[in-house]
Symmetry: C3
Amino acid sequence: MGSPFLLAAVSLLSALHMGYLARRVGLSRMAHKVLPPDTTGPAQFERTFRAHQNCVEFYPLFLVTLWTCGVFFSEVPAAAGGLAYMIARQIYFNGYVKSTKKRIPGFYLTLVVLFTLFLLGLTGVVRGLLHQYFHIYI
Amino acid sequence: MGSPFLLAAVSLLSALHMGYLARRVGLSRMAHKVLPPDTTGPAQFERTFRAHQNCVEFYPLFLVTLWTCGVFFSEVPAAAGGLAYMIARQIYFNGYVKSTKKRIPGFYLTLVVLFTLFLLGLTGVVRGLLHQYFHIYI
Amino acid sequence: MGSPFLLAAVSLLSALHMGYLARRVGLSRMAHKVLPPDTTGPAQFERTFRAHQNCVEFYPLFLVTLWTCGVFFSEVPAAAGGLAYMIARQIYFNGYVKSTKKRIPGFYLTLVVLFTLFLLGLTGVVRGLLHQYFHIYI
């Protein structure tokens, strides 16, 4: 493959997106007068805080699946999956801020995108392992 | 080196493992009726929650040491270390769910694996730096 | 480019630094007698805990921008930015342990370094995309 410029672009965009979500928590702190280091307060602040935490927990998993899919399967589908993941995360985040129940659709969408990236990446990696260690070409 | 298929396979597996541990927190939420965004509740839920959080905190450190060791030292030992890390994390997690004290053995095992990956990776990187910037071959 | 030994060295160092900050939280737990899985207690412990959490949240963003800048723009400035980021994080951490207000200068310094790495990386990636997909050389 050539240099993975698309994967790098999507990764930079996702880092910016994560920065934006962290900023949303900061704005929610101000709006609800919850000073650091506190992480409890009005329900809407707590939902915003947890929404961000969940994004933080999944971000390294996203990066692993994005790059594995992009390098070992195919770059363009991986980059498209990366954009879909960010959209799914934004739907999840916006939903969670509104109510605990409204986090569900975005969360499932997130999982679908993540699993798709995972399975495509796995396909490429298994094909590579069979080739490299067993000289089997599929 | 050829394409790092083994490192990619171990990374995908570790992402799946992290997803599994996140799922365990979700199941613990249901079992103990702790609804999001709450993160406090019965002691067993809180231990499960913290066990996962600790895994989340260390996951990027694990990825950095895994790939540095695998790319700059040697791939097979790094992949073996990656599998050992997942086993250590599972022992830690299962122990922590049972009691705060039982998290200790798995945690130390985790640190031993992480330090081994770190030191092997450092060996490869220092050798590379000496070669590239000082023309010293060791 | 040759093998990115400098980026790997800075990444290993940053992983060690993150391990050190996690250790600081552990020491603060002992000093203030806050047993896991609790995360609340004396104000100084809570600030130490949150300072570490903030470092954890930003660490994957740091790795993405460090490597994008180093691979797609230039390695030496990226490595220098990586060292600056660690210093900024340490200033942030030490400040936050003392008081909530004293976290501010280190935090802004962190953001300045992160944005610099981001913009340099973006420059390299956009140049690469223009070249690869539009045959435009700038």
